[in-house]
């Protein structure tokens, strides 16, 4: 405050003295006042210029990052890494072309070598599956180039890593697609064609890497840590610069009009000091329908009411659309000016996806009359709905369990231990304390020794459903689509629900995001606990975790919690090799593992087709190790997949 008080006092004194001089002009006569006047004009003018320059180089208040409630966080598209690698080949290749460098030096593994190695592996796998080639024969066919009619695709494996550069590539400003990249593209398209998926057109160029999502690089979905905050829009500062420069310039050049324009600036800056940007509002929100089916449209109506005693001249509102929902039509943003006691409503439509979606606190930006300052804060919704529940319902139909080994009837599973039961296992020497009913009297009559019969101990199977929610698992068919772990949460609930119906104790856990663990048990309360965990966003959040997960540690954590005889159902998109490692290490730890894999790849693009091929390869690897894998298209309900599985 003191900083402002001194200039105010100086200003008031100066005005008083000036007015006094105007009223009594004889005081200003004489040589001394003239010299003082000149010194004052020059000195203050120079000071004004210096101050203006300082203001000019001052930085504004940092901009707040406002959330974008219209869309979900942008997830990575499967195959983005492959596209980046091809892009890197192009960059490195161009640099090499520009610098007339060697293509490949004595480095370890260049991007092109890595692309070659991964595509070669996929090629061998695809030829093995479609034509029944052994790996060696498939490699020979690839090297010979006779596996496809597409010469460009065949040349990728047959012609080596350093195809000759077209002359155009050396020209400045011309950026043709490099032969290596074109061949890789064709090879992917041909391999995808062989697997008869809807393969990309081999003539289509690679989509820019920027369109493939950047994972969690964009930060928190609803950043409110710095709120509430009152910030300057930078207008007053610029006005001050203009006033100082105009006054100094006007005095020096003798243009009184220029000095006079300072009045505009002082009026704008003064108004900004008088009015505080405040907004005393109440919000209500209604959702229609309250419990939609997946894919349905939900109408959201928000009403803002000015409950303060002053007019709100400039109100901007961002409704807190949950991270998992996206806006189908309308806008969750409102601007308005509200007199006291008045209200305004706006409506927008959301597309429902499975989950329990809690709305975030709406964000309010209140500006002042002059538009010089604004307050950003969150407001609570005082009345109405603040969450939307969709999907995750109990199913009443019957279908199969996720894995044939996960037996449904208690007592069917062989526990591997002996004791009381019905099925004979072995005979052992009698030990004092053995129940008399298990003594083999025939043996006693025959040999004279007491012996006890051991039966196979029946045990109820227990299942743990583990959702893969690692950072790498957060992929979606398009950057704004539902990410694989959220499909995984739906699938996990579906599996758990069915097993609980069959009386099988089920637990759930996650790997990566969230720390969710419910031990295997049964009961309605447990079913509800599973539903709450999986439908909400605490266990499987909509934003990817910051850190990537070490598979070894994750498996150690899981096995520490799992009893040895618990079967595990892993729900993973299998879009990276770590997903396969997770499954195999769990299997290695002695658990019966099966996999449900939501397919989030889009084979109609080159990167997506690569991801699709790689995923198919992983699926066949797992199946090759006798691990049952259910490939699930998330656009169809999981129970249909399960029913088909049962019929096969």
């Amino acid at each position: 405050m003191r900083r402002r008080r001194i200039p105010t006092i100086v200003g008031l004194l100066a005005i008083s003295a000036g007015v006094l001089l105007l009223a009594l002009p004889e005081l200003g006569g004489g040589l001394l006042p003239r010299v003082a006047a000149t010194l004052l004009t020059v000195g203050v003018g120079a000071a004004a210029v210096v101050l203006a320059a300082r203001e000019l180089f001052d930085s504004d208040d940092p901009e707040l990052r406002l959330p974008t409630p219209e869309s979900r966080p942008q997830y990575r598209v499967p195959g983005a890494a492959f596209a980046e690698r091809l892009d890197r080949i192009s960059t490195v290749g161009r640099r090499a072309a520009d610098d007339a460098d060697e293509w490949d030096g004595a480095r370890e593994r260049t991007p092109r070598e890595r692309v070659y190695a991964s595509l070669h592996e996929l090629g061998v796998d695809v030829l093995g599956r479609t034509d029944g080639d052994t790996p060696g024969a498939a490699a020979d066919r690839l090297a010979g180039g006779e596996w496809t009619a597409d010469e460009t695709a065949a040349a990728f494996f047959a012609d080596g890593l350093c195809p000759p550069l077209p002359r155009r590539a050396s020209l400045p400003l011309v950026r043709p697609e490099l032969p290596m990249v074109e061949r890789a593209r064709h090879a992917v398209a041909e391999l995808a064609e062989r697997l008869s998926t809807d393969a990309p057109d081999s003539a289509s160029r690679l989509a820019p890497v920027e369109t493939m999502g950047d994972g969690a690089a964009q930060g928190e979905y609803w950043p409110t840590a710095e709120l509430p905050r009152t910030r300057s829009t930078g207008r007053t500062r610029r006005v001050a610069v203009a006033v100082l420069l105009a006054s100094a310039g006007g005095v020096v050049m003798g243009v009184p009009g220029a000095v006079l324009t300072a009045a505009f600036g002082i009026a704008l800056a003064g108004a900004a000091r008088i009015w505080e940007p405040t907004a005393d509002i109440e919000l209500t929100r209604t959702l229609e329908p309250r419990t939609p089916t997946p894919g349905a449209t939900v109408e959201v109506t928000v009403t803002v009411r000015n409950v303060g005693e002053t007019t709100i001249p400039d109100l901007r509102l961002l409704d807190g659309v949950p991270a998992g929902l996206s806006v189908r039509s309308g806008s969750p943003r409102l601007t308005t000016a509200l007199r006291p006691g008045t209200e305004r409503s706006f409506t927008y439509a959301l597309t429902a996806v499975p989950g329990t979606h809690a709305f975030e606190s709406p964000l309010v930006i209140a500006g002042d009359f002059a538009g010089a300052r604004e307050t950003v804060r969150t407001v609570a919704v005082t009345d109405g709905h603040d969450s939307l529940a969709c999907g995750f319902e109990r199913r009443s139909d019957d279908a199969s369990s996720p894995r044939e080994q996960a037996t449904q009837m208690p007592g069917q599973q062989k526990a591997g231990v002996t004791g009381s039961g019905v099925e004979f296992d072995s005979l052992r020497a009698y030990r004092p304390g053995d129940p008399a009913s298990r003594i083999d009297w025939h043996h006693r009559a025959k040999t004279g020794d007491l012996a006890t019969v051991e039966f196979q101990e029946p045990r109820q199977p227990r299942v743990a459903v583990v959702v893969d929610a690692r950072r790498a698992a957060y992929v979606a068919a398009t950057p704004g689509n539902v990410p694989a772990p959220r499909h995984g949460a739906s699938a996990a609930y579906s599996v758990a629900d069915r097993l609980l119906d069959d009386g099988v104790p089920v637990g759930i856990g996650t790997v990566g995001a969230g720390d969710c663990w419910l031990p295997a048990t049964t009961g309605e309360a447990h079913r509800e606990a599973i539903r709450t965990r999986l439908a909400g966003d605490a266990a499987v959040p909509w934003t990817p975790p910051e850190e990537s997960t070490q598979i070894r540690e994750a498996v150690d954590d899981l096995t520490a919690r799992l009893d040895p005889d618990v079967q595990v159902v892993v729900v993973s998109p299998l879009c990276d090799d770590d997903g396969v490692d997770l499954v195999r290490q769990l299997e290695g730890a002695g658990h019966g593992v099966s996999v449900v894999s939501p397919d989030c790849t889009d084979p109609s693009t080159v990167a997506g087709a690569y991801a699709h091929l790689a995923r198919e390869n992983r699926l066949s690897t797992l199946r090759g190790h006798d691990i049952p894998v259910r490939d699930w298209d998330p656009t169809t309900p999981l129970r249909e997949v399960q029913a088909r599985g049962a019929a096969v």
Binding site: I15, G18, P25, G28, L40, P313, N481
Partner: protein
């Protein structure tokens, strides 16, 4: 394979029409004011283009520099004219800058889908009122001191302007 079931709406920053229109009309008004002096008109046209670029490409620096150009054009045209003329011709300069900045902020925060007319109207009207009132008071003070024989009084008033600007920052 999962495909997006429908195209969901993405946020698109927009440019509110009313404020942009007010800004454009103000720039044209400045052109009209300075049209008689070719040098000033040249300054004004360059400034006006910069304002247009600043608005369309959302570059605040271009906007502010453009308005600076418009102001220089007004001062150049009015150097020998009456202070009243300079005062009057500066009003559209201020209005062009203030509404254009407001349009940029609104566009970035609210986008092109939501309606913004009400807020734009309130803002434009309050700025016009403020500028008119401030300019009017300034003009009255100026009229009362014109013809004064004391340069010291003017120097003191300049000091007052600078001091108040500092305290109001």
């Amino acid at each position: 394979m999962a495909r997006p079931s429908e195209r969901d709406r993405r946020f698109e920053p927009g440019l509110p029409r009313f404020s942009t229109g007010v800004s454009a009309v103000s720039v044209l008004a400045v052109f009209g004011f300075v049209a008689s002096d070719p040098v000033s008109l040249a300054f004004a046209v360059v400034g006006g283009l910069a304002v247009g670029v600043g608005l369309l490409r959302r570059i605040e620096f271009a906007l502010t520099a453009g308005v600076g150009g418009l102001f220089v054009a007004v001062l150049q045209a009015g150097a020998d004219g009456s202070p009243e003329w300079v005062l009057g011709a500066t009003v559209p300069v201020v209005l062009a800058w203030v509404t254009a900045r407001h349009a940029l902020r609104l566009g970035a925060q609210v986008g092109s889908v939501a309606s913004t007319l009400r807020v734009e109207l309130v803002h434009t009207v309050s700025v016009v009122v403020l500028v008119t009132a401030g300019g009017g008071i300034g003009y009255l003070v100026y009229r009362s001191v014109t013809g004064t024989p004391s340069p010291l009084a003017l120097g003191l008033l300049l000091l007052a302007v600078v001091a108040f600007t500092l305290s109001l920052r």
